[in-house]
Amino acid sequence: MAALQQITVDALKRSESQLAVQWHADLEASGATRNLKPEEIRQQVADFLRLLTSTLEKGGSANITTTEWDDVRHFLEKLSSQRALAGQDSQQTASFIFALKGPLFTQLQNAFADQPLLIAEQVLQMSELLDGLGLHTIRTYQKSREAVIKRQQEELLELSTPVVKLWDGVLALPMIGTLDSQRTQVVMESLLQRIVDTGAEIAIIDITGVPTVDTLVAQHLLKTVTAIRLMGADCIISGVRPQIAQTIVHLGLDLQGVVTKANLADALALALRRLGVTLTKAV
């Protein structure tokens, strides 16, 4: 594979400011800069050209995964995660690099005006390089987006099941909807943490709003009960509906040592009794 000629690098360096103007104009025209500040784009365009020329001058190879390209790659990673957060789509983000091709090839045409054979070769080289950088931009853009989605999913999981304080020393976790393994795990972890934070002696897991329980979820419930005991608190499971009771028995799961109550009110009454609290009706 032929390498980039010194003439190409020189041409690039000589026309940096010209390229910047043309590239910026092309970006504006393509609509890739919507919602972004013009001065920011101008800065990014100038910065990228500076990084690109200095890397090529230092003899950066065609392989952009090498350390010589570290600065360029980091610049693009920062740029694409910033775009992802600004709500730009992948096409707009990738256009940043691809829009450079037009102005750059024009410059190459001028530089190699009397060497038509070299033009094609150098354009191809440059094109491959920019493609690589563009793909890297898209890849990091995708990563940032997925990181955003993952964070939102986790936030949603935590929001969906609040741990509430019923009484001084009594926490309740009312679970509603289908329990999948991951959700059960997250919820149980936050319950355990709340027990430590509040010093609650009794935790009630209410599963009235849970339509079905599979083996994995039932096992998670049992593990949680055991973990709560190891931490030095007690756990009561309330709202076990007939179907779920049947499932548990069918699965052959051992609920020995687990206190269950028909509903949340009974569970709270038991918790209060254990705490030595008696309630009387005011006459």
Partner: protein
Amino acid sequence: MTVRSSGTQPIRIEQDVVLARQTARKLAQECGMRLIDLTKLVTAVSELARNTMVYGGGGDMDWQIVEDGLRVGLRLTFRDEGPGIPDLKLAMTDGWTSGGGLGLGLTGAKRLVDDFELDTSPGAGTRVTICKWT
């Protein structure tokens, strides 16, 4: 899968088990692992490092921080040149022990991590590779 960084930690004496745990904890933190997963991993390391020392007569722990697409993980290999495990099926049974322990070392460690691979034969030492993803 790409390797971001790697290294080796010797496991020769009892204190090295503690060092192996501390190394694993530091690396898992670098990976940004959640506290629960980190605790599970460090506990598995403790079990396996102890096996390497007690049953394998000492060995090494190789570590790698690996990247697979969006996931980052910590991969650890425990190597020894000891007598190996003659009956693998038996060794992977909860509660079975050859050394007076509880018999939860190998099976317990397996439950605590995402990937678990065991390679052994009598007289040829033992290699256990585990991986936990963030």
